[in-house]
């Protein structure tokens, strides 16, 4: 009885304290970005999410961000500084911040961390990512329908599972609607280097590519596509202002709803660690409006595919699928599990070339 009473008192006390705390101070939410907020791609979209929090929660929160933080020791310094200055919830928005987040989180148990695209969790570290490969399935389908030379260019950043998964998903769906399609993959080894991305796009176009996809952050390739009069897809953000004629659609990372939900969870004390991997169904992956260059039947086909993934009735990696070397991967009707997808290190059958080591 005594223990029950004390628990009750404690709870009431805690409740009273926390309301009092809310009344006098705002929840401080911090963001650290790997690129500039003006990259009009990856970091830009995270910053849109930050602004969505401010819009939704208004005076109850105070957000701040630090941009262009290199992955490594600098990240740890910035995170520590944020935690020391009273930030209670920190979003670290690049894969390479993983270990820095772990280290800092261990020192500040009362600060909550959200790490994008990572895989290490802790009591106060949650991870989140989006199922971008669903968007890749749609743009693969569109690319397969729209290419006249049957050559599709793919500007890839680093040979990590995230990127390889995107290439596979796009290829499978392009091949499905156009058996003659061929992928030209160029690795640029950077997330963000407009000159290199532009050069890669130019090189591919000179070899007959007439539709370009990218897994890098800047709209440079889109600019080149517009100039050369071919098609391309926006990456992470709607890039139509860089290619009003070139952009067929874009895969948009919509972090806002997740950020709002998690920030609210911290405010009402229900926040718990975990791993979120959301897609079109939850609205984390969104497509930009289809271009008028698409014929109506292609629009309808792409929309139907997107709808089926949003409804959860179709998975982009559904068998029968073989690996590049011809060995069996998924049997007829079998669906890839998240574990395999998260660690994907092979091409599917039909893609030419090797993944760099």
């Amino acid at each position: 009885m005594v223990s029950f009473k004390s628990i009750l008192t404690g709870a009431v006390l805690a409740l009273g304290l926390s309301t009092a705390a809310f009344a006098e101070e705002k929840l401080k939410v911090g963001f650290i970005y790997v690129g500039p907020t003006g990259d009009f791609g990856w970091t830009y979209q995270h910053d849109q999410g930050r602004q969505a929090i401010e819009k939704e929660l208004g005076d109850a929160v105070e957000t701040s961000f630090v941009e262009s933080v290199p992955e490594g020791a600098d990240a740890e310094r910035v995170l520590t500084q944020m935690a020391l200055s009273g930030t209670k919830l920190i979003y670290a928005t690049s894969f390479g911040y993983m270990d820095a987040v772990q280290n800092v989180a261990a020192k500040f148990p009362d600060v909550r961390f959200e790490h994008a695209t990572g895989y290490k969790q802790a009591d106060n570290v949650a991870t989140y990512s989006a199922r971008f490969y669903q968007g890749r399935a749609v743009i693969g389908t569109i690319a397969g329908r729209m290419t006249k030379t049957n050559k599709i260019g793919y500007i890839a950043s680093f040979p990590i599972p995230e990127v390889i998964r995107g290439i596979n998903s796009a290829y499978i769906h392009a091949k499905k609607v156009n058996p003659d399609v061929e992928f030209k993959v160029v690795w640029v080894y950077t997330w963000f280097d407009p000159a290199k991305e532009a050069d890669a796009a130019t090189a591919m176009i000179e070899q007959g590519v007439d539709v370009i996809m990218q897994h890098t952050d800047s709209p440079a390739a889109m600019t080149i596509a517009e100039e050369k009069g071919i098609y391309a897809f926006g990456q992470a953000s709607d890039m139509s202002k860089f290619g009003p004629h070139a952009q067929l659609t874009a895969i948009i990372d919509n972090w806002g709803p997740y950020y709002i939900e998690r920030t609210k969870a911290v405010m009402d004390g229900t926040w718990a660690s975990g791993n979120t991997w959301d897609g079109m169904k939850e609205g984390m992956v969104v497509l930009a409006p289809f271009s008028d260059a698409l014929p109506d039947d292609v629009k309808a086909e792409a929309q139907a595919l997107a709808d089926s993934m949003a409804a959860g009735t179709y998975h982009p990696f559904t068998g029968p699928l073989n690996k590049q070397d011809g060995s069996a991967w998924l049997a007829d009707g079998e669906v890839a599990d998240d574990g395999t997808l998260a660690g994907m290190d092979f091409y599917v059958e039909g893609i030419e070339g090797d993944i760099p080591k």
Binding site: P36, G38, D39, F40, S68, G153, K184, V185, V186, W187, V188, Y189, F192, D193, P194, A195, K196, A198, D199, A200, T202, A203, M204, E206, Q207, G208, V209, S218, P219, A220, T223, K241, F242, E352, G353, D354, P356
Partner: protein, 310 residues
């Protein structure tokens, strides 16, 4: 692997475009070094040129004015270096590095409101008939003005250094500033002018990136081009035409590498990416292997501080 998908004509044409920014920056730096000054701030001056050229081109709608502004901005920034090293006699290496860091930061500040804007297009020269000639047409006659300007600049620098009194004075200052001073030449003034010329060229190179090659403004977009320009000057052993060759080689490596990848050739990217620097090191080794050779090439007073004693 299908090498036949690489079109050599288009490859050479895009190689010339890729080489232009580093060629402009390198020929400017060559003049600076010929005057005996080592300015490691090329990267900083390039990026300042990139943003200033971009901003002015956007505001006025004229790419030509943009390029003029870029040259002025590069020259103005280089004056800071000139002031530090020629008037205050500060260490050239440290001042140059500071200039690079300063330029990168300042350009990001100026450029904040210019991200995501499209610059006005720079017209290409399309000479009817000539640009229709097979093979030679696209390589020689299908470019924008700056590509030709860069080549003309190389020729001009070569001619001035080799045949004119001005070139002779510049070289004298770079080889032996005390002797030049004794002859009555204004060493400091000549060096400041050379530094400004270098800054203007680097600014033009930067603007070529932001106005033509990419074309858009993004923070840090020079991505090391200034350092490649510095390497080219050494690679060229301070000879103008070799700067052109070096720029085509160094600029060509990236373009070639992407073309090979797209054609399905599996060459580890890292090897090609480091090859320009390997070649530079090799050239340095060959140059220093004999005294006579190195004496013929590097300006003798390069990087040495000049202090007039009277």
């Amino acid at each position: 692997m299908d090498l036949s998908t690489i079109n050599p004509v288009l490859l050479i044409a895009s190689l010339m475009v890729a080489a232009t920014p580093i060629m402009l920056a390198a020929i400017g730096e060559l003049v600076v070094e010929k005057a005996g000054v080592l300015n490691l701030g090329v990267e900083g001056m390039m990026i300042i040129g990139a943003i200033c050229g971009f901003a002015i081109a956007v505001e006025t709608g004229s790419p030509l004015l943009g390029f003029v502004a870029a040259a002025v901005a590069g020259a103005v920034l280089s004056l800071l270096f000139a002031f530090l090293t020629q008037i205050l006699l500060a260490n050239q290496v440290a001042s140059g590095l500071a200039l690079t860091l300063f330029g990168l930061g300042l350009s990001a500040l100026i450029g904040q409101s210019y991200a995501g804007i499209k610059p006005p297009p720079t017209p290409k020269i399309d000479i009817p008939l000539l640009s229709d000639i097979p093979i030679l047409g696209p390589i020689l006659f299908g470019h924008d003005l700056m590509v030709y300007f860069a080549i003309l600049l190389i020729a001009a620098v070569w001619a001035v250094l080799k045949y004119t009194r001005l070139g002779l004075i510049l070289r004298a200052v770079g080889e032996n500033h005390d002797a030049a001073h004794a002859l009555g030449y204004k060493v400091v003034r000549i060096r400041i002018l050379a530094i400004m010329f270098g800054g203007a060229c680097a600014g033009l190179g930067g603007a070529y990136l932001s106005l033509i090659r990419v074309p858009q403004w993004t923070e840090g977009m020079t991505a090391g081009a200034g350092w490649i320009a510095l390497a080219i000057v050494v690679f060229a052993s301070w000879k103008p035409w070799r700067v052109m060759l070096g720029a085509y080689l160094f600029g060509g490596v990236t373009v070639l590498q992407f073309n090979l990848q797209a054609a399905g050739v599996n060459i580890p990217v890292q090897y090609l990416a480091m090859s320009p620097y390997l070649v530079t090191i090799l050239v340095l080794v060959i140059m220093s292997s004999s005294k006579a050779r190195s004496a013929m090439n590097a300006p003798a007073a390069l990087g040495r501080i000049f202090h007039a004693t009277h």
